[in-house]
């Protein structure tokens, strides 16, 4: 920690050495009337040059020391009183601090003979404007989504919750990136234990850089080896607002529009924001369908294999004949066929994600026509299999949160394997295994499957029925169920 010396040359030499190959750091010196040299250092492209020119350079050059209400005798007084006409001013004490601040886009003012520096926050840089979030769109509800700049994000939340109990604590994480992470919560609603746990974990992160909130997610989650995510991520400020009101904790990261919400249960992954914006009776229907569809999305290929190859007696008579007739000419066993088609389907999905927008529809048509139709006509794949696989894929898309959909894709394969070897018994074993895993998973103190297990009678109705808003619910405070 080398402190700022009074000698401007020494300071300047140090700074020039630190920034010796960075052409975007501007060091401008200014000689005042009484031979005092002032040094202005800023990062080109990140500082609001206009305000620098108007508020600092112009007055200093044309009018000398700022006059103000009392006349200032010397530069040191200006420094002591931080008499610079800008809103966000700090005094810097060490050279490392100065370097750090310059890199963040602040303006540093050094003067000959002064052992301190003035740091002005004049950051201004290009950023994306507020747009509709791509991944999570709803039919009704606000169309705003978060952006990369953390100040804009926090302001979006502040605009929605206007109450002093909304607290935002800031952390800087990452050795080289010094990413700002904001922890937002409603004091009194959020659980104290969870808060302290999160803060401890954030302080313990020792990473080179934080590029996205996913990095933080992996650092602080309970169990990284599970396929189920224990932290929710979202781009929408309205979801963040309602979660804050429920007592959850939100982490915003600079550089990414995705906010993290914790704690997270399995059932939260199957909800969608639309549930709250449509009439409550429709919600019952859509939620029931969504649960059935999620079950189908991981279980249908396995059930199909189990039924047709292990237990054909369960299939109604004439349906079985149709399936058997369709299978007469196909070369692969059912299990291999379904596996191949699932892989192809997943491949198509992956391809679709990375495509430029204009090729998207073309891709799906090619996929459907070429692969599906031609394979059937060539007699390589039988038609019921195409039906099963497409139904499975489509059912998966009914899960509103895209990242909650990933576990089901993996489970699909696992269930297919184990059912392919052991029939319905294997299916039962697979489900039990999943159940054990889910039941013992925890997300920051909340069991992953609550309120179903352990049973919380007050909250369980919320899974299917969303009561009209005017019915008072139990309490908004989250009880720590342990």
């Amino acid at each position: 920690m080398s402190s700022i010396s009074s000698s401007l040359e020494a300071n300047e030499a140090y700074l020039r050495e630190q920034f010796n190959n960075s052409s975007d750091v501007v060091i401008r010196s200014l000689i005042l009337k009484d031979e005092t040299i002032i040094l202005l250092i800023y990062l080109d492209g990140m500082a609001k040059l206009q305000s620098v020119e108007d508020n600092i350079l112009k007055p200093l050059i044309f009018s000398g020391l700022p006059k103000g209400i009392d006349p200032i005798q010397s530069l040191s007084e200006m420094f002591k009183r931080e008499w610079v006409p800008l809103t966000n001013i700090k005094t810097g004490k060490s050279l490392e601090d100065l370097v750090h601040q310059i890199l963040q886009g602040s303006l540093v003012i050094l003067a000959n003979g002064e052992a301190s520096a003035i740091i002005a926050q004049v950051q201004d840089y290009e950023k994306r404007s507020i747009q509709e979030p791509q991944k999570e769109s709803t039919l009704r509800g606000s169309k705003e989504g978060f952006v990369e700049n953390i100040r804009t994000n926090t302001s979006m939340i502040r605009r929605r919750i206007i109450h002093p109990l909304l607290k935002m604590e800031s952390f800087k994480i990452g050795k080289y990136t010094q990413t700002e992470v904001v922890l937002a919560y409603m004091q009194g609603h959020a659980d104290e234990n969870v808060l302290s746990e999160v803060k401890n974990k954030l302080n313990m992160i020792d990473a080179d850089g934080i590029i996205d909130s996913a990095y933080i997610e992996e650092w602080i989650e309970n169990n990284s080896f599970s396929i189920f995510s224990q932290i929710q991520n979202t781009e929408r400020p309205d979801i963040v607002t309602s979660c804050l009101l429920e007592g959850k904790i939100v982490l915003l990261t600079n550089g990414t529009p995705f906010a993290l919400i914790l704690p997270f249960t399995f059932w939260d992954g199957l909800q969608s924001a639309d549930d709250y914006f449509e009439r409550f009776i429709f919600t019952i229907l859509t939620r029931t369908i969504r649960y059935i569809m999620s079950f189908i999305s991981f279980a249908l290929p396995a059930i199909y294999v189990a039924l047709t190859t292990f237990h054909p007696e369960m299939v109604p008579r004439y349906l079985m004949f149709s399936i058997a007739a369709a299978r007469e000419t196909t070369p692969f066993p059912t299990f291999i066929e379904i596996f191949l088609m699932l892989v192809v389907f997943d491949g198509l999905q992956e391809a679709g994600v990375h495509l430029p927008n204009r090729l998207g529809p073309v891709m799906s048509i090619i996929g459907a026509l070429v692969i599906g139709q031609a394979a059937v006509e060539a007699g390589i794949i039988s038609t019921p299999i195409i039906i099963v696989v497409s139904l499975t894929g489509v059912a998966g898309y009914s899960i509103a949160r895209y990242s909650a959909f990933f576990p089901f894709r993996i489970i699909r394969y696992l269930m297919l394997f184990i059912t392919g070897f052991l029939g319905f018994y294997g299916f039962a074993l697979g489900i039990i295994y999943l159940l054990i895993h889910l039941v013992s998973l925890e997300s920051f103190g909340t069991p992953y499957l609550s309120p179903v297990a352990p049973f919380d009678g007050k909250r369980i109705k919320d899974l299917i029925i969303r009561y009209p808003f005017w019915i008072k619910k139990g309490q908004n405070k989250k009880e720590n169920v342990k």
């Binding site: 292990f310 237990h311 007696e313 369960m314 109604p316 008579r317 052991l422 029939g423 319905f424 018994y425 294997g426 299916f427 039962a428 074993l429 489900i431 039990i432 295994y433 159940l435 054990i436 895993h437 039941v439 013992s440 069991p447 499957l449 179903v452 297990a453 352990p454 049973f455």
Partner: protein, 366 residues
Amino acid sequence: MKVTGYQLFWLISISSMIMFSYVPIKLAAEQSHQDCWISMLIGGTIMMGVTWIMLKVCMQNKDKTLVNFLKDILGTVLGKICVTFYFILWFVQMSIIARGLVEFQNLVLLHETPLTFILLFMFFLVVYVMFKGGITAISRCSEVIGPFFVLMLYVQLFLSPQEVEVNRILPIYVDSGWVHILKGTLYSFNYMVDPSIILMLFFFAENKRTASRGILWGTAIAMLWGVITTLVIVFITGPNISAEMVIPVYSLTKFVSILDFIQNIDAFYITFWVFGAFIKLSVCMFILSYGLSEWTGLKNWKLIACITTLCLLAFVIYTTYDIRIGYEYKNIIFIGFLYPLAYIIIPLLLWMIGSIRNHRKTSSIN
């Protein structure tokens, strides 16, 4: 590791219904034909009484498990000997269910797969749940599985109304007479519900009052299911066939034919049965290993669980080779000695001694 009353309710009802669906109905129907429902009713009431006594014993010793309070009340040596009876009982019950599971699978679903594999997977899951969370994980699983399981078992009874002919249950009582009815009860009541697991699980319950309510309700639901099942079986098949069916509940599912479309759903039913069997096996395994760890003093009950599982595996495989051990449900040692001891004599004894002690304590305080 804590268990709530609601979780206990599901645990008890699932364990009881599994035991009920496998053995007792055939034993009773053999003896008393169309009056087997009377045997069931009597047997069920006896078992409810046993449950009540055991609850009383547990309430007297609220903060100890069976092993500890047996030691307290009966003294170290006698207590340890008595506990071994319970260990044997649980071990035998587990082997019955495991063997039933394997036979079901082999008979109905998987004809070629070797038995060892079927058992291996099930036991792997049991050990896995032990390691993952012990009784909390098991009870949470039972909360999820419970409603589906119980619903499925109840609904299955009502799926073939067109076959039901209520008259088949008549004439009541005449054909069999008291002797046969009581004989039916005698053979079957041991296998009806499963009260001995309460003795160990009560210790883990948080709120003792809701726990006891949950246990009583669980046993009641299982009993009700048993009696209704017996009635339905007699309605549908009449007295003669039901005495010959080895596992009547399974044969019941074979009769279901809805709109001539959904038929032969027995494979589906067996899948649900696997869920219930898993819960029962894990509960018994947990109790056994926890009890063994307290009995021997080794703290690491998870290790004991592994070892016990291996022993059980070996035992079940052995019984499939040696037929005699496997099929003796009516063995005189069990019926005459082990079951009455474990279910009736020891709890009564403990209750009496416990009340005498409490009485003495309160009178000495005064």
